[in-house]
Symmetry: C2
Subunit: 342 residues, 2 copies
DNA sequence: CTGAAAGCGCTTACAG
DNA sequence: CTGAAAGCGCTTACAG
C-alpha cells in the first residue's frame, strides 16, 4: 500500500498551526515540543498530540537562522569517480549521521573553478564546517576562498601545515606488509610498485624498505615502479623472473598489480603461496577475493579515515581547531596468497 | 600562500552591514544585489562595492524561509558501498550542480528505520525533492512516510506504479549484447549469467534469448545462473566446455563472471576472440581493461541514469509530477574479447 | 505555568 | 529611484 499523499496544495504545518490546534501560544508550543521546563504535563501532551495530528515537522531553516548553526556540513570531493573517495565519504556520512548532521555532497571534478563555486554555495548555506576529500595522497593547495568555518582535509593533506589533515599511513602500510611476509618465513622479497608519481607509491616503498633493513634483509632487485594496472603487474613479474628469479615473495603496489603478478607467476609455473607469497595494497574486494588464490592485502581503513575526519570536524566546530597532519592506521588482511589453506 | 583567514570572532557580514556601508536601506541593497530594476546605476555600484569589501555572502536559509523553496534536494541511497550507486550519484550531482541545487547525501544502509529517520531530517530541512537510489534493479517499497515533495526512484523502481522510477534497460542490454555477438559472426552463443535472484540477471537473459530467437538461433545449453563472481565464471565455463563444447561465444552476466570465463578458456586452450568471443555486462573499467584480451561489455549508462533522474525531479518540482517506469538506454563498448585487434 | 514581543537575515509589495 | 514595514517559522529572554 502506498502511503496516502499529502492533500493537494496542502501547506506544511507550522508551529502556529500546532499552537492554534492545541489552544496555546506559539511560545508555549515551542517549549513543549522542545522539552523545555515550565510547561505543564497536560499542555505538553496536548501540544504533542496536535503536532502528531498535523504531522508537524519543525522547519530547520528557521531554527538555523536563529541558532547561528545549521547542523549541516559540506563534503567536497575532487574526484568522486576515484575508488578511494567512496569509503571515506561513507565513513564521514556515518559519523555525521550519528551526530544529527546533514551532509552536502559536492564534486569539484578536479576543477578549481568548480571547487570555488561549490565552496561559495556551501558558505551561503551556512554549513558549520567543511571536509575536503582529495583524490590522491599527494598534498593539495588549501581552499582558495577565505573560509570562516572549520575545514578538515582528508586523504590528500593541505599544503598548508597550519591546516588539519587526516591521511592514510602509507609508510606504515609498507612496513606492515613486509613484516607480514617476514612472519610468513619469506626473506627474498621483491617490490613491484605502482606509479612513481604518486606519494602513495613512494611512501609504501619507503616503509617496505625500512622494514627490510630493520630485519637485516636486502630487497630483491630495485623497487619496480610503473602503473597501478594489471598489465604492469604481468610485465613486471615477467621481467623479475628473467632478471632475479631467486625470490620467495612479491609485494605489489596495488591489488591490481598483484593480480597481474599472480597471472604471470601461474603461467610461468611458480606456485602461490608455496613458492612465492604475493600481496597487494588497498584490499579492493572485487580484486582480492576473485584472485587465485585469494589475495592478501593491506586495508587502508578509509572508512575509518572518513569517520576520523568527521569527528575532527565535529570537535573543531565550536571549539579550538586542530592543526597538522594525522595518520590513520592500516591493517593486513590475510588470505591464501601468503598463507596456505586460508 | 594560505588565504588570510577571517578575523577571529568575526561575524559573517549581513545585508544590514552592506546597506550601512553603502549608505542605503536594506531594501535597496537587496534590490541592487539581486539585479532588480528601479535602482540607479550609481547605487547599484556602491552596494556591490560594499558587498565585495565585506565578502558578503547572502544567507540561503533566510532566502529559503521567504521563498518557500530551498534549492536543495535529498539523495537517499540504500547502499553506498555497492558499486552501482556511485555513478548514479555522480550523474545526479552533476545535473543538480548545473541547476544551482545543493544535494544532501544520506545513506540508509538498507535499513528501513534509518531510511525513515533520514527522510524525516530531509523534510525538516525543507528539501524541494528527493531521489531514492536503490541497490539493485528489483522493485522496492515506496517511502514509508507521507512525503509532500516530489520523489523520483532511481535504479530500483518503486513497487507503486503511481511513482516515477528511472531504471536501466536490462532487457535491452541483453538484446544488444547478443546482437553484437551475431554481428561478429557468432551463432553458437552460450549465456553464463549471475545470481538468478536478481531481476537484472533474469532481464538480461530474457533480452538475450529474445534476440537469439529473432535471429533464428538457439542458445547453446540453458542459461547458467550462479553468482556475480569470478569464481562462478571459472566453474561455469569449465562445465560448459565439458557438456557443450561446441560454442563460439559466451555472454556473461557480469564483467566479473566474464573474467572467470576468460581465465578458464585460456587455460583450456581456447583462443579469445578467435575461437570464442566473450562479453560481460556493466563495463566496470577495472575489470574490463585489465583482462586479456580486454573485455567487450555493455555500459548501462548509470551516470546518464542519475542525470535523467535529476532532470525528472527538476521538472516535478513546481510542475506536474510524472508517473510510471522509464528506462535509460545502454550501449556496447567493444574491446578485444569480441573484436580482434581492438 | 503561560504568552506577548523581539529578532535571526532576507525579500517583497507598497508608499513616498 | 528609495525606504519603512511586514513577514517567512521559529526560539528565547522577559513579564505576568
Amino acid at each position: 500500500m502506498a502511503p496516502s499523499p499529502a492533500p493537494r496544495g496542502a501547506r506544511t504545518a507550522t508551529l502556529t498551526d500546532v499552537a492554534r490546534l492545541a489552544g496555546v501560544s506559539v511560545a508555549t508550543a515551542s517549549k513543549a515540543l522542545n522539552g523545555r521546563n515550565h510547561v505543564s504535563a497536560a499542555t505538553r501532551e496536548r501540544v504533542a498530540e496536535a503536532a502528531a495530528q498535523l504531522s508537524f515537522s519543525p522547519n530547520s531553516l528557521a531554527r538555523g537562522l536563529l541558532a547561528g548553526r545549521t547542523g549541516t556540513v559540506g563534503l567536497l570531493t575532487s574526484d568522486l569517480v576515484g575508488r578511494f573517495s567512496l569509503p571515506i565519504l561513507m565513513g564521514a556520512e556515518d559519523a555525521f549521521g550519528a551526530g544529527e548532521m546533514s551532509v552536502f555532497l559536492c564534486d569539484a571534478r578536479g576543477d578549481a573553478i568548480r571547487e570555488r563555486h561549490h565552496v561559495q554555495a556551501l558558505l551561503s548555506r551556512r554549513v558549520d564546517g567543511l571536509i575536503v576529500v582529495g583524490s590522491s595522497t599527494d598534498p593539495r593547495p588549501p581552499l582558495a576562498a577565505a573560509v570562516d568555518v572549520p575545514v578538515v582535509y582528508a586523504y590528500a593533506p593541505s599544503e598548508n601545515p597550519e591546516d588539519l589533515s587526516i591521511v592514510p599511513d602509507n609508510v606504515g602500510a609498507g612496513r606492515m606488509a613486509v613484516e607480514h611476509l617476514i612472519a610468513c618465513g619469506r626473506t627474498r622479497i621483491a617490490h613491484i610498485s605502482g606509479d612513481r608519481g604518486f606519494s602513495a607509491a613512494r611512501d609504501r616503498a619507503a616503509g617496505a624498505l625500512a622494514a627490510l633493513a630493520d630485519a637485516g634483509l636486502a630487497p630483491v632487485g630495485e623497487v619496480a615502479y610503473g602503473t597501478w594496472q594489471e598489465g604492469w603487474g604481468r610485465a613486471a613479474a615477467a621481467m623479475l623472473l628473467d632478471r632475479e628469479p631467486d625470490f620467495d615473495a612479491v609485494l605489489c603496489g596495488s591489488d591490481q598489480v598483484a593480480r597481474g603478478v599472480l597471472d604471470t607467476l601461474r603461467e610461468r609455473g611458480r606456485r602461490v603461496p608455496e613458492d612465492v607469497a604475493v600481496m597487494g595494497f588497498d584490499d579492493w574486494r572485487v580484486m582480492t577475493t576473485g584472485a587465485r588464490p585469494q589475495l592478501t592485502s593491506v586495508d587502508m581503513n578509509l572508512e575509518e579515515l572518513g569517520r576520523t575526519a568527521a569527528r575532527a570536524l565535529f570537535e573543531a566546530i565550536g571549539a579550538e581547531h586542530g592543526r597538522g597532519v594525522r595518520t590513520v592506521q592500516c591493517r593486513v588482511v590475510v588470505r591464501g596468497s601468503t598463507a596456505p589453506g586460508t
